[in-house]
């Protein structure tokens, strides 16, 4: 699954790094480093991270985006 974090919004609360440590890690005290593509197996954990983010900075496809059609419109 694809995801992106709005790092202007991110304030380093590190909830995501606690809930989905394979996808989100803190680099230093408040810098977030994340993988823009997470394994499907991580979906549940990423969903918790998305929900727990105090500033709602995480966008993850299929979690807090509108559903996409079966056939992607991208080439």
């Amino acid at each position: 699954m694809r995801l992106v974090v709005d790092l202007n919004k991110c304030q380093g609360y590190a909830q995501c790094a606690f809930l989905a440590p394979d996808v989100f890690t803190m680099h230093g005290e408040e810098s977030l480093v994340y993988s823009p593509r997470a394994d499907e197996a991580q979906r549940e954990k990423v969903a918790r991270a998305v929900a727990a983010c105090p500033v709602q900075a995480i966008t993850a496809e299929g979690l807090n985006t509108e559903p996409l059609p079966e056939v992607s419109d991208a080439r």
């Binding site: 680099h27 230093g28 823009p36 419109d73 991208a74």
Partner: protein
């Protein structure tokens, strides 16, 4: 009213073309559909990839926490578009409302959005730039190549330019235990964007993390071996640094060459547009069918003296794309201005650097919270007695407060006490920005254009 009829027709069955299939182009397409645009939508992109995110390329990817070919942006919604990927736009016929493509094709439009962004400025000596081991870092392809080379374990990486990208690359190298030399023409890293006071902190941070930082020097040449691989960099102070990887981080060039001769107000500084994202033609008359958004656009911001700001910022690309898309399919009174307060972030050496406003406009800086020596602080920039920007090192939660000071034109120096004020923050000091007329690495905020107060008109040809 006939105007409303034609707007309704545009919304129902019009043709919208977006040139540039990156962050701004994608978010504009999504906004158009979200606002009910039912006509045909075409996205044209010179790279053969669907829209991907660039910030991870110099951070998570180089730290080995993400793969360069997997940073595609999540889609907020379906956009039902025709994608022309891997083919660049090569020309614009404004009268005939057509975009010409590099493969000879043409795409007609009723409304056009230009979001062609910027590209990395290459090493100016072409033969040296061609040497094996010399890289730039802007695109996915750049990142794949650099990532591959970093994994082999170079003996030393040599970074030319200590702006944000160059500094992030140096940080990633040290994180991976790779020796790195950074050469910077100015006296410290990040001075173009944040000034000398903060630049000095960045310099200490680099050196303490084991970066061989050389400031006040220029790279005079890159030397290859007999097989065409780079082997050394020569500096203006006469020193020679042996290296097997060189990353050229000399800022970016706006992708406007394809508009030469089109009659659009486009040049090396970007595409001039109004606060509603409508592009100007070269006479300074605003168009109503050509829009611009993202890194390639420059538009007046009332909060900053109506200066034309061109911003290479992620958040600006999103915000401006949304405004442009909205305005493209809205009647005059419903249109919105793009009045985003510039904001960016950088992550390096484990420190989170963020800024709001336009630091490079600041004459003075005051460290209102924390301490430079501890690398946890907030600095406020002042310009003509008002707060114009703020920067934080590992202090991001305060920035929203300072953003409001900027938006409300609060007086500088601030008249109130702040949490964690230290003796060093009692008085403002000169922010120490370099003379903007001297070439250096590109600041992330470029001020250009002219306020109504000094009515000078300078014609900048598309090809300087």
């Amino acid at each position: 009213m006939p105007g409303e009829d034609s707007l309704e027709r545009l919304r129902r069955e019009g043709r919208i073309v977006i040139v540039g299939a990156s962050l701004a182009g994608l978010r504009a397409a999504e906004t158009l559909r979200a606002e009910g645009f039912g006509g045909s939508l075409t996205l044209i992109g010179d790279e053969p990839y669907e829209p991907y995110d660039r910030p991870p390329l110099s951070k998570a990817v180089l730290l080995g926490k993400a793969s360069a070919d997997h940073t595609e942006l999540p889609r907020l919604r379906a956009v039902d578009a025709t994608w022309r990927l891997g083919v660049a736009a090569s020309g614009l016929d404004m009268a005939g409302r057509r975009v010409r493509l590099a493969d000879g094709g043409e795409v007609p439009y009723d409304r056009l959005l230009i979001a062609t962004g910027v590209r990395a400025r290459p090493w100016p000596k072409e033969a040296e730039a061609q040497l094996d081991g010399v890289f730039v870092l802007r695109t996915r392809d750049d990142a794949v190549k650099l990532e591959r080379r970093m994994k082999i374990g170079p003996r030393r990486v040599f970074v030319i330019g200590a702006g944000f990208t160059g500094s992030e690359i140096a940080s990633a190298c040290r994180d991976q235990g790779i020796e790195v030399t950074v050469a910077e023409r100015a006296d410290a890293p990040l001075v173009g964007a944040l000034g000398g006071v903060v630049g000095a902190v960045a310099a200490d941070m680099q050196r303490e993390n084991g970066v061989d930082l050389r400031t006040g020097v220029m790279v005079t040449g890159l030397e290859g071996d007999s097989t065409g691989r780079v082997r050394a960099a020569h500096l203006s102070d006469g020193s020679v640094v042996e290296t097997d990887v060189v990353v050229v981080s000399l800022g970016a060039t706006r992708n406007t060459e394809w508009l030469a001769g089109s009659g659009l107000g486009a040049g090396p500084r970007g595409i001039a547009c109004d606060a509603g994202c409508r592009a100007f033609d070269f006479r300074g008359i605003v168009t109503d069918d050509v829009y611009a958004a993202g890194d390639v656009a420059r538009s007046p911001n009332p909060l900053f003296g109506y200066q034309f700001l061109s911003l290479e910022h992620w958040g600006n690309a999103v915000a401006q794309a949304e405004v442009a898309a909205h305005n493209m399919i809205s009647a005059g009174a419903d249109r919105r201005p793009h009045m985003w307060v510039p904001a960016f972030w950088s992550s390096q050496f484990g420190v989170n650097i963020k800024s709001v406003g336009v630091p490079s406009m600041g004459d003075e800086i005051m460290i209102t919270q924390g301490s430079l020596a501890e690398r946890r602080f907030t600095g406020v920039y002042g310009y003509q007695g008002r707060v114009i920007a703020a920067v934080s090192f590992d202090n991001t939660r305060w920035l929203e407060f300072y953003q409001r000071l900027i938006e409300t034109g609060a007086p500088f120096p601030p008249e109130f006490e702040t949490v964690d004020r230290r003796p060093e923050g009692r008085q403002p000091v000169p922010a120490d920005f370099p003379d903007p007329s001297l070439p250096t690495h590109g600041p992330t905020v470029t001020l250009s254009g002219y306020s109504p107060g000094d009515r000078q008109l300078v014609f900048t040809p598309a090809h300087p």
